[in-house]
C-alpha cells in the first residue's frame, strides 16, 4: 500500500509539472529539490490546495480528487502562516479538534496536553505575535498532534528557524512521528534537515524521484 501520485499533470501560469511517485505509507520521505522543482506544488496537490489537470492521487488505492483539504487524510505544517494571528495559542491548537471551536472541557484538556508535549505548557492565552518563530512552529506542531491524520506534510517547516531552535523542533517532530507513525512527506532544499528527521532522501528531478 502506498501514497500514489500517478501521472499527475498540472500547468500553472506558464509552468508545467508532471509527477509520478509512489511513497510507502509508513515511511518518512524527504523530497529534495531546487526551488522551482515543484516541491511545494506537489504538497499543495496532495493537500488539496491545487487540483491536477490530469492523473490521480490515491491513498490506500482510493482517489483523493474532489475532496476538500480538510476532508483529506492529511495535515500540513507550512513554513509560515500556520496560525491565525488574532486567536490565542490555545484556540489555534483547538481548531484542530473542532473547526468551529466549540470545545468540551475534556477537549480543552487535550489542547493543554498537546501544548505540554511541545513544551509550551502555560502558553494557552498568548497570541502568536508574542511568540518566537520556533514557538509558533511548535504551536502548529501541537495542532498536527491533535489532528492525528495519517499523512503529515512538512513544507520546509524548519527553514526559517535558527540552528538551536531548529534542533529542538526537529526532535519534537521526530517524537510526533514515532508516536503516531504517519506517512510523512517533507520537502526541503536542505539535506541535513532530511537526515536529522530520519527520512529516506529522494531527489525530485523533472517531476519524478531519484533514490539516493
Amino acid at each position: 500500500m502506498s501514497l500514489d501520485i500517478d501521472g499527475v499533470r498540472l500547468a500553472l501560469a506558464d509552468r508545467r509539472w508532471r509527477f509520478d511517485i509512489a511513497l510507502a505509507t509508513d515511511g518518512v520521505h524527504a523530497l529534495l529539490g531546487r526551488s522551482g522543482s515543484g516541491k511545494s506544488t506537489l504538497l499543495n496537490l496532495i493537500g488539496g490546495y491545487l487540483e491536477p489537470d490530469a492523473g490521480r492521487i490515491a491513498w490506500h488505492g482510493e482517489p483523493l480528487s474532489g475532496l476538500a483539504p480538510a476532508e483529506r487524510p492529511v495535515t500540513t505544517l507550512f513554513q509560515h502562516d500556520n496560525l491565525f494571528a488574532h486567536l490565542s495559542v490555545a484556540d489555534n491548537v483547538a481548531l484542530g479538534l473542532d473547526p468551529s471551536l466549540r470545545l468540551t472541557p475534556q477537549q480543552r484538556e487535550r489542547v493543554s496536553g498537546s501544548l505540554d508535549q511541545v513544551e509550551l505548557a502555560g502558553y494557552e492565552k498568548r497570541k502568536p505575535g508574542s511568540l518566537s518563530g520556533g514557538e509558533r512552529q511548535r504551536v502548529s506542531l501541537a495542532r498536527c498532534l491533535l489532528r492525528n491524520r495519517p499523512i503529515l506534510l512538512l513544507d520546509e517547516p524548519f527553514g526559517a528557524l535558527d540552528p538551536d531552535t531548529r534542533t529542538a523542533m526537529i526532535a519534537l517532530t521526530r517524537e510526533l512521528i514515532e508516536r503516531q507513525r504517519p506517512c510523512v512527506v517533507m520537502v526541503t532544499h536542505d539535506e541535513d534537515d532530511a537526515h536529522a528527521i530520519g527520512a529516506r532522501v529522494l531527489e525530485l528531478v523533472d517531476g519524478g524521484v531519484r533514490r539516493r
Partner: protein
Amino acid sequence: MARGLHPLNRGVPGAAAPGAALPRRTRLDRLPWWTGAAGAGLVVVLLTGVPLAVLLGEAGELPFARVAQDVWLRRVVGFSLGQAALSTVLALVLAVPVALALHHERRFPGRAALTGLFGLSLVLPAIAAVFGIVAVWGGAGWVNGVLDTLGAPFLAEGAEPPRLPVLYGLNGILLAHVFFNAPLAARVLLQALDGIALHEWRLAAQLGLSASARFRLLQWPAIARRLPGLATLIFTLCFTSFAIVLALGGGPRATTVEVAVYQALRFDFDLPLAVALALVQLAICAALTGIGSAFARSDDGSLGLTERAADGAPWPHWHPHVRRGGWHRLLDRGAIALAALLVLPPFAALLIAGINRRTVAVLGDAITLDALFNTVVAALAAAALSVALALGLLSGVRRLHLRAANRRDGTTGSRTAGEALQALGNAILVIPPIVLGTGLFLSLRAWADVFSLALLLVILINALMGLPFALRILAGPVLDGAASRDRLARSLGMARAARWRLVDAPLLRRPVALAAAVSATLAAGDLGAIALFGSDQVRTLPLLLQTRLGSHRLDEAAVTATLLVLTCAILFTGLKLLIGGTGERDA
C-alpha cells in the same frame, strides 16, 4: 457518529483517531460563493444604473443646441469651475507652508489637537461649518465685534466702524472651501513630508545642506508628488460642494451647477433644465475622476482616515530641522498661528454659540426633536447598508483574487473581474449625489410621491455615497493576507459560519466600526439628498439648520448646529466603541 472521520483517514497504527472532526456543513455553506457579491453588485447597479438611464432617456428630448447657447447656463458652469479653481489654489498655497511648519516643529502645545482638528474636515457637516464661519466672519460675527470694540476709541463720534466685506457670495464660498480643504491638504502633505526617510536626512546633515537646498532636494519633491492628485481631489470637492454654495452663495452671480439643479427641481420645477444641468455636472465629474485616477496613488486612498495623526516624534539631535535658524522658526510659527486662526474659531463658535437664550426652547421643540430622530435613523440605516454593500462586494473580490492565485491559465481573468467589482463601488464617486437624486426623482415620479419617500431616498443615496469610503477602509483588512488565512481555514475545514465568527469577524471588527462610523457621520451631515426630497413633513438636522440659517434666525441656527455636531460626534465615537470595542489592539 455523524461527524466522524472520513473513511480515508485510516492507516495510522493504533489510531481510532479521536481527533479531528469533519467540518459542519450548514445551509450557509451551500450558498454559492458569489451570493454576497452578486447581491451587493445588483443593489449598486440598480440604484445607480436605473436613475442614470432614466436621466439619459429624458436627455434625448433636450434641445441641446439651445442649452449649449444658454448664457445663464454658461455662466453657472463658468462660476462653478472658477470658484473651484480659486479655492484649490488658495487651499494649497496655505497648506504648503503649514505642512512644512508642522513637519519642522514636532513639539509644541496643542500640536496633536491641531492636527486632529485638521482631520475632522472630512466628517464635519458642511452646513455646520457654514454656521461656524457665519458666526465668526458674518455681519454680526465675532470679527466684526472685535473690530467694533477695538475701533471705538479711535473713531470720531458717530463714524462707522471698519467692517468686513459681506460674507455672502464668492468671498464666503472661498473662505468656507479653504476652511475645509486647506487642513485636508496640509495633513496629506505633512504625511508626505514625514515619509522622507531618516537616512536621507542623515545624508543631508552630513553634507551640510542649507535650508533652501533641503527644501529643493528633499521636501519639494515629496510635496510635488502629491500635488496633482491633491489638487484634483480638492477641485472636485469644491466643484461638487453643495451645502456651502447653497448657504453662502445663491443668486444668479454665485450659483454652481449643483445648486442650479436643486433650484430647477425644487423651485422652478423645470425638469428639462434640471436634466441638462445634471448631465453637465456628470460629464465634468467623470472628466475630473479620469484626471484624478491618472494621479491616483494607492497610499493616499484613505485620505488619512485610517492613519493616526502624525504623532510628532521629536527629531534626533543631529537633524537639520533641529538646527534651523531663528528666522525659519519664526516663519513656521507664523504659518501655524495662521492655520490655527483659520480653523479654531469656527469650531469654537460651533461649541459655544449653541448655548444661548433660545437653547432650551429649541431643544424642546418638536420640529428639532423630529429632525434629530430622522437624522439618527437615516445615518444608522445608511451606514449599515454601506458596510453591508462593501463587505458583499469585497467578499467577491477576495474570492476572485484567491481563485486567480490558485488557478492555472485564467490567472488574470479572475483578478481583473475582482478589480472590476471593486471599481463598481468606487465608480459612485463619479456620480454626484445631486445627479443621483435627480435620476431617482425622475424614476420614481411616475410611481409614487417622492416626498413621502424622502427618508428612504436619503438613506439610499447616502448609503451609496458612503460606499467608496467603506470600500477604502475595508479593502485592506479583507484582502491583505487573505491567501494564507484561506489556506489555513481550508486545511482545518472551517465552515463558513465558523470562519466568519472565528476569523473574519475578529479581524474586521475595528475596520467595520470605522467604516460604519464614517458612513454614519457623512450621512448625518448630508444636506444634498434631504434638500432635494425633504419637506415640512420630513426634515433632518442639516435641512433644519439650513432653513434657520437662511431665515437669519441665528440663535436657533446656533443651537441646531451644535446639536448636529454633537450628534455626529456621538454617532462617530458611539459606533466605533459599540462595534469596535474598547480593547487593546492584538499584538
